[in-house]
Amino acid sequence: MDEQEKKKRKEKAYQDYVKTKTPVHNVYLNMAKAFVTGGTICVIGQFFMNFCKNAGCTEEISGTWTSLMLVLLSVLLTGWNLYPGIAKWGGAGALVPITGFANSVAAPAIEYKKEGQIFGIGCKIFTIAGPVILYGIVTSWGLGLIYYLLLKVGVIV
């Protein structure tokens, strides 16, 4: 027991020491870049939105078109190998919007195509997006349940 405690303490000391020697990205600079990148993507989205509305589409239809166009754009940029460069600069600004999600599905599809349609693309297309999809659905189910209960109790009318 004592030996193990000693070992743990030694490991912790090394981890702490390594932390002081490891360079990290500047958080504030990264946040600024993410703001600009994410903002730019949203502006492009807004452009599609306004365009559709001006063309006479309803709010809902315009929103759908906007998502579709952003996904298409991201997938194309992924295929042309330009999206990783955008994300390297823009960080979370490029990952959080729907474009980042599209990239995380397109990238494995490209990479694993060589392993075949079934075991390559079929099995591995959601290797990155899979957790987001699974836990996204689980969370929305949970929230739906809460919403239903609140409705029943009468908190929400």
Binding site: V18, K21, N81, P84, S104, P108, I110, K114, I128
Partner: protein, 336 residues
């Protein structure tokens, strides 16, 4: 006279020669500071193949052929081949060297494999098990990213401590035929684990192993750090080097003056955006073949301790919360 030295080393009575070496690299490595020194380079990292894995196999074969051609030795004359790579089940090696039809041993030592292969090859020659042995290793940026991290087109921000896997393969012909470089001894490394779990900071995971092997080598051979013109680690990178210096200093030694790291040499960190430096089996192997061996051959360096380092994790062990153990093998190379 016994060839055994200390607890982990061998000092060869009749030291085998490194007769020739072949190196082949990808585009980024060719654009790096050592670019012109490599024997061959590929335009698109595919080397005429369809997949990253096949490309890596191709590199291994070409590197072997280059080494054999330079020495004027036929593949049939080589007794055994020692080879390894980073892929699951070592497919780059087994698919790559098949055409050569040399009896072979497949190795895995992560990025330290070049040291493992050189040590075993030298031991076999010194023991009289054959006239010629071939040692070969490779790594490929595409196949390694796929194996250990994400698909290439996936958009992610790499930490500053992350390494850039070298696309390249190096092969070495070891034997009794005279050349100007000898493997005078080896120090086989132990697995050293300081409990670090960050596979994106491999330099810090491997530095303790490098320190352990270097100090053991000095102890086993009764040498001082200054007895080596260079102590060359494989792929500790910028983070790992800093830590290695600290760890070695704690034990009362100082290698700052004569240390070099292949991962820091092969790329231009600023211009090529490679963060902590190069890594992979190919990193140490091609740097040894194209940069280090010629310097020993010419006599610019008389004695070098070559210490390729490896991080022995897999994606499974990483996901299951295991730490990343390190290993390093020491190869003593001398001008003659």
């Amino acid at each position: 006279m016994t060839m055994v030295r200390g607890s982990q080393s061998i000092c060869f009575q009749e030291a085998p020669y490194v007769i020739s070496a072949g190196s082949i690299v990808g585009k980024k490595e060719f654009e790096g500071p050592l670019g012109n020194l490599f024997d061959m380079s590929g335009e698109d990292n595919l080397f005429g193949e369809q997949t990253w894995e096949a490309a890596e196999s191709r590199m291994q074969k070409e590197a072997c052929v280059l080494a054999l051609e330079k020495a004027g030795i036929d593949a049939k004359e080589v007794r055994y081949l020692y080879g390894g790579d980073l892929l699951r089940q070592g497919i780059a090696t087994s698919m790559g060297v098949e055409a050569l039809q040399i009896p072979m041993f497949g190795l895995y030592g992560a990025c330290s494999t070049s040291g493992e292969a050189l040590a075993l090859g030298s031991m076999a020659v010194a023991a009289g098990y054959g006239e010629y042995m071939l040692a070969v290793t490779s790594s490929h940026f595409g196949s390694a990213e796929k194996e250990f991290r994400f698909p290439l087109a996936y958009a992610s921000q790499r930490p500053l401590s992350a390494h850039w896997t070298v696309t390249g393969s190096g092969a070495f012909l070891i034997g009794k035929k005279r050349s100007h470089v000898r493997v005078s001894g080896v120090t086989v490394g132990k697995i050293v684990d300081y409990g670090l779990k960050d596979s994106q900071n491999m330099g810090a995971c491997m530095a303790p192993a490098a320190c352990d092997t270097i100090l053991q080598n000095l102890k086993d051979f009764g040498r001082q750090e200054s007895d080596y013109d260079r102590i060359i680690t494989g792929d500790l990178g910028y983070v790992g080097q800093t830590i290695l210096f600290d760890l070695v200093r704690k034990k009362g030694k100082d290698i700052k003056q004569n240390h070099m790291d292949c991962g820091m040499t092969i790329f231009d960190q600023q211009r090529q955006d490679t963060h902590a430096g190069g890594s992979g089996c190919g990193c140490a192997a091609v740097t040894l073949a194209a940069y280090i061996l010629p310097k020993i051959e010419s006599g610019e360096w008389r004695r070098v301790l070559f210490v390729p380092t490896g991080a022995l994790m897999s994606t499974v062990s990483f996901n299951e919360g295991e730490s990343v153990p390190g290993i390093a093998h020491g190869i003593v190379l001398e001008h003659c």
